[in-house]
Amino acid sequence: MSVRRVAAVAGRIASQFRRDHRSLGLLVAAPILIMSLIGALWGSVDPASVRVVIAGDGATPPAAALTASLSRAAGLSVRSAGLDAAVASLRDGSADAVVVLAGSPRVIVEGSDPTRTSGTLTALTRALAAALGPATPAPPVEYLYGGPSASLLDSLAPGLIAYFGFFFMFLLAAVSFLRERTSGTLERLLASPLTRGELVAGYLAGFTLFALLQAVILIVFTIAVLGVSYRGGIGAIFVVAAGVATIAVALGLLVSAYARNELQAVQFIPLVILPQGFLSGLLVPVDRLPDLLRPLAGAMPLTYAIEALRAVMVKGYPLGDGLVLRDLAIMAAFGVAALVGAALSIRREVA
């Protein structure tokens, strides 16, 4: 083993790397970015107040008393409404639990997210026990979606399907388009009647095939092998997953215009992929994000994909549901913007 030769290789690597300012910058910036995200995410654990709706006649003494005493409990924000309105606010996410006072009291929770559900139930049962007195048995709990047996995986699965689908298609598209640039074939394509729009559409169509295949595998595996329960139609799940892949391909093409080599393409992972993993509702519900980060979530396509996929898979919403349609529309807007951006960026000279 020759020290000189080893030193020569090491020296060469160092000088190559020293010239790649972007890689150097990222070496420092990426960990800081990711750690500050994690810090902001879990450091400032927002003891989000549990939003309780008391359903029943607010005027009768027991309801009023209960409302008053629950309102005093720390971490609870209480209002009252009719039963239908209360359940509706559970559905649209503006409430975490409903306490129904018709007959013996019972509790309804949303239930699609086990982490959130258990947090809600812990706070609420403690407050209820204090309000109703130790003699009263704990009120029964009903679940709008899922149930006490819903596992963490059940609620994570939709997010993971969307996330990994996005991740792989993004990388695949970015790297293969980059190869088109570095191999000189892009030059040849641009010197032919092929338009940029056609090129982007061709890439999209070519990759969509694989994206759909991947979506099938992911979905079948999570449902059949991991035993994740789902309620929506498989078709609806598929539509959302395909939408995610489309956006990923378009973003991959866009990003490849700003990379000079495969290494730089891979460096977009901590910038594009990881933050979406933290902020798009995969790990922490978006409405529980610190105020500083929540607007970021709104600017991320995965946020809407995960919301839609959860609605379809866990809550069994049909594709035609207003919430799902809205998410799909926003995803479509992201997709179109990314595709147009990709088409416009193709001529960017990467020297």
Binding site: G184, R188, L189, L190, A191, S192, A351
Partner: protein, 242 residues
């Protein structure tokens, strides 16, 4: 009096800078239809940059360029331009035939089968039709790359050092083919460092630091430089323009 047909290529005062490098510095060149013009010049003199402006890949900062009487990108969009890049730009995982099929489809070639067979015969690679491109030798790749530029029978052929790594027998075949294309009306602009190749052109343009410094047939350039052959003429003229 019949209207003069516009030249196939007309460049006037073309400039292009990359950062601090002035790649094209007021380049003028006319190429008539059916003419074969060679671009000679030292490394980095701007040959590829000029060819890329003709292929619509670079927009010059100033000056004007017309290809077949229209803008380069228009001519490219009309499928009138064939461009062979200096390095063989092909898909290595695909076979020779798959590559050619793809480029034929991009250029809207109908009945691609016979055209591909023709192009492969021209570059003498019919027997390697099914080989993946990355299993071919360097010279063979150049030949496939040329075949890809010929498929759609473009009116203007831009060839950036088409015969690098190509053996003498094949090179002669190439030039016979270029001649017959030109006789049929195809205009060819070819960059080269090979003098024997340069002497086969109808006309040569000597390019240096992004501008044409001498122009004319090989014989005229030799005469003008008072040299014995084209190679020394090239060296003399290139030095003189310093």
């Amino acid at each position: 009096m019949p209207a003069m047909p516009s030249p196939a290529i007309q460049a006037r005062g073309v400039t292009k800078t990359f950062g601090r490098v002035r790649a094209l510095a007021g380049l003028d060149l006319d190429v008539a239809r059916g003419e074969i013009v060679g671009l000679l010049g030292p490394n980095g003199s701007g040959k590829m940059t000029f060819i890329r402006t003709l292929a619509g890949l670079i927009r010059p900062e100033s000056g004007s360029i017309e290809v077949l009487g229209r803008s380069p990108s228009r001519a490219v969009a009309d499928g009138q331009v064939g461009y062979m890049t200096q390095a063989a730009a092909l898909y290595g995982e695909l076979t020779v035939e798959e590559n050619l099929r793809f480029f034929a489809a991009l250029n809207g070639v109908r009945a691609a089968g016979p055209r591909i067979a023709d192009a492969l015969a021209t570059v003498d690679l019919a027997d390697r039709r099914t080989s993946p491109v990355n299993t071919l030798s360097g010279g063979m790749r150049s030949r496939v790359s040329l075949a890809a530029a010929l498929l759609h029978a473009p009116s203007v052929l831009l060839l950036d050092e088409p015969t690098v790594g190509v053996d003498p027998v094949q090179r002669r075949e190439f030039w016979n083919h270029f001649r017959s294309l030109a006789a049929a009306g195809t205009t060819i602009l070819v960059s080269s460092h090979v003098m024997d190749e340069a002497s086969r052109c109808d006309r040569l343009g000597l390019i240096r630091d992004g501008a044409i410094v001498a122009e004319g047939s090989a014989a005229r350039l030799v005469e003008r430089a008072g040299a014995a052959d084209l190679e020394s003429a090239f060296l003399i003229l290139a030095e003189a323009s310093r």
